[in-house]
Amino acid sequence: MTVAVKQRVKVANQKRIAEGIYSIWLLAPEIAGAAMPGQFISLYSRDGSRLLPRPISICEIDRIHGRIRLVYRVAGKGTLEFSKLKENDSLEVMGPIGNGFTLEGKKAILIGGGIGIPPMLELAKQLTIPKVMVLGYRDITFLEDEFSAFGDVFVSTEDGSRGTKGNVLDAIRENGIEADIIFACGPTPMLRGIKAYAAEKGIVAQLSLEERMACGVGACLGCVCKSKETDHHTNVKNKRVCKDGPVFYAEEVEL
């Protein structure tokens, strides 16, 4: 794996794709060259009062033009700042970070929940086996169309305004979707449900976790998740989401 240097990169373009959701393309040839689906980058604020990096998953990789795409929700002051960036503005980033998805299996379900949906897009592009996508939203949908190029897309919304009313597992059950592997990213309760579901069905699941980070490189032990076995590096039942993840096999971790 190449080392993720901290660098200043330029914004190729940015647009709002839904209420509070932004899509930004960054000119970052080194990152684009090295990145794998499921990896993320750390974004740094320009304002010195906000020191820590903001981890954002890579949504698309365009090796030809040396660009990467991020899709993110404005959640606080850091992402608010990023949302104001325009073409040719620059920002500091570090990446690609972490271990992405392992491309494997015969028939896959790609599951994204809320702001966990973006990283599934590059995975959908790179994963060549038959697959369906299940996308869970609270209410407003985004990126849905872009997935349809890669297979059938099923949607769930909490309020039932589109697709299945309920969560992604409701959508899977309602549509009788079957597979031998699940790739998923989303809120912890969703991942917990998927882990149980995969165990029940006896299929493999790769889950992308989220945790508060400080260093983003594996040094501070801020971002650990509980692992089933004693971890090689930490020598306790903790794995680092930033370095050892963010993608883990469901059986590896306790949620």
């Binding site: 240097v5 020191l51 930490t234």
Partner: protein, 300 residues
């Protein structure tokens, strides 16, 4: 130009090390910078047995700083000795091992085990605000500081650095106690105890409720304490707390620190410690200062 300093008989090529817990054992940041360019690497606190640390969230950003409540997760001294010391020994830098425990016996166990190891100094963390049983409780009482220092001095073959907590009424009292106990050097400051509340979730941001505040926000408190301690005891001081660049480091040195440690800054810039080394050189060149000792404690 001389930037090397000698603390308790150990020579450091330059006065810059890493703050314990912000740099692991150097493996991760070793991919970004040449560890041989640092005066020393100070490792994450190590206990006699593996510690799992606190539940997450363990870190939170604050204005100009951050809170952490890692809870001293560490792989235990055996893995550390087998894996981390040999790794660091490949570099031309000194090794300072940060030691933690819950009881005096814990500390003694680690120090005894490390005393035969090829490490240069031991830094005793009696100031971690994030574990209930030990750490800070030792560091907030002068008698305890003196007693534990004495106990450890009996066992250590390497010089001992006592790392002081800023969460005290009078830091010089703790410094004097460490000196009385026979400490060879002092490190300060550890983190200030802080808290952050998520007003939308109406809950603590950290699972541990409180955490240790670090980063540039706390620098003025740290510089003040280094100055006070430098004027109260004869021991050499490793100064830390919010050092982001060489200018910040020089504040500590001028206040009386013989060495400085770069902590939270590593998270913002993996090259931070290296930049501090280079920036100190630049400053000395700019002002024609031949020896770093002309700067140590120069502001009275």
């Amino acid at each position: 130009m001389n930037t090397s300093v000698v603390l308790a008989g150990i020579t450091f090529k330059n006065p810059v090390t890493t703050a314990s817990g912000t740099f692991g054992s150097g493996m991760e940041y070793g991919e970004y910078i040449d560890l041989s360019k640092l005066g020393a690497v100070t490792t994450k606190g190590v206990a006699s047995i593996p510690w799992p640390g606190n539940p997450t969230p363990r870190v939170a950003e604050t204005y100009g700083g951050m809170l952490n409540a890692i809870g001293l997760q560490n792989p235990g001294m055996e893995v550390f000795i087998q894996r981390d010391i040999p790794f660091l020994r490949k570099y031309d830098t000194k090794i300072i091992v940060n030691v933690v425990g819950k009881t005096t016996e814990d500390y003694c166990d680690v120090v005894e085990r490390l005393s035969d190891q090829d490490v240069d100094m031991l830094e005793i963390n009696i100031s971690c605000p994030n574990v209930k049983e030990g750490g800070i409780a030792f560091g907030q009482d002068a008698k305890n500081v003196e007693t534990i220092t004495k106990e450890l001095k009996k066992r250590a073959k390497q010089p001992i650095i006592m790392k002081l907590s800023p969460n005290v009424t009078d830091i010089t009292e703790m410094a004097r106690a460490a000196e009385a106990g026979g400490a060879d050097a002092l490190s300060l400051i550890n983190t200030l105890t802080g808290m952050k509340i998520d007003i939308h979730k109406r809950a603590f941001l950290l699972a541990n409720k409180t955490g240790g505040l670090s980063g540039p926000a706390i620098r003025p408190v740290a510089v003040r304490m280094v100055y006070q301690v430098a004027n109260a005891v004869k021991l050499p001081i490793i100064g830390m707390g919010g050092i982001m660049n060489a200018e910040d480091a020089l504040e500590f040195i001028m206040a009386g620190a013989s060495m400085v440690a770069v902590g939270t800054a590593n998270f913002i810039n993996p090259k931070a410690a290296l930049n501090v080394v280079e920036g100190i050189n630049d400053y000395m060149n700019q002002y024609g200062i031949k020896d770093i000792h002309d700067l140590i404690g120069c502001v009275k």
